[in-house]
Symmetry: C2
Subunit: 195 residues, 2 copies
Amino acid sequence: MARTTGSRATITGPLIRDKARCLFARQGYAAVSMRQIAAAVGVQVGTLYAYLPDKQALLADLLESHMQDLLAAWSDDPQADPLARLERFVRFHIDFSIDHADAVFLSYMELRNLTPDNFARIAALRGRYESALESILRDGIASGTMRPEDPKLTTLALIAMLTGVTNWYREGGRLDRARIAQIYWGLARGAVGAA
Amino acid sequence: MARTTGSRATITGPLIRDKARCLFARQGYAAVSMRQIAAAVGVQVGTLYAYLPDKQALLADLLESHMQDLLAAWSDDPQADPLARLERFVRFHIDFSIDHADAVFLSYMELRNLTPDNFARIAALRGRYESALESILRDGIASGTMRPEDPKLTTLALIAMLTGVTNWYREGGRLDRARIAQIYWGLARGAVGAA
DNA sequence: GTCTATACCCCGATAGAC
DNA sequence: GTCTATCGGGGTATAGAC
């Protein structure tokens, strides 16, 4: 357990983000102090400021990099069958939400604690993700395989429904991930009128 | 506009709750100070403590009375057609969520800031509300008019979907309330397999 | 890169005058 | 019922030693 300077330097930055993400998700941004984060990381408060300018930047960084990861992880084939694309989207969203539950929870709970410029940047990324689903719905309508009454509202409704999984999912619960994804897919398919 | 002692006394209590609800919903419980609330009400900080023991009690009171109002406002007829009951539930939930947007938003954002005993009491009320929907789904399955794969998960998914309306609804937006309720009802009906 | 120490501010809550 | 004044503590952020 030698404390070489190099190894610590490499690890502290990501560790700050990991601990902050976890604490923010559990207690909320405003309720978590920089002292708490430092204690979780195992350093003193002052050390944090060698890695970030202030607390707000830490939140913005967590939310923005989460949205970037989400957008990078999603890929779509506009040529494929819209219903198959929707199924992929639903399964992807559920899996990603479970795998990154803290980040997902944070990203829709703490938008209001962003400064206006940070909010605008991150809301734009969120809009891009919503558009990904909306385009699937529009293609589904065009091809006659789906009948949602309003693609825009249906997009928001489906994402809210799917993201809700972060509110109650616990590892080792009554339903496993595959089963959960299956059930949500059934709900989504029915909701868009493709049952 | 005489400032009689009596009239002020009657108004200050509810006003504290109104302003606190609004501020908590917009900025989050932890981010709002008692001084901010006092300023919004138009009194000094000390005055607040003539009406409540502490800040936590204010939050708990807002959440508990909201859940009580919600449960009191909902009525169901277990003898009626399950699909008609589901439609009533959907329309009720949308209307109530729009009419009490701040309280609804608060009630699912700030549960984590409750002390354990307050949390337990309020979570139990929430459970009663979820049960109201779940019993409709179970009756629908029994009567063969609905085919949700898992009534418990479907309950949580539908409530998350419907409650999401508080995230984006704005008075005078693209869709009016009746239209929104209609669209959500279409989504819910399809989701439970009753299209 | 991390520590200790500290500046400066605002927090929740209380006491006591009016 | 409301005010003013204040207590004790913890908040973010910085300075400077090592």
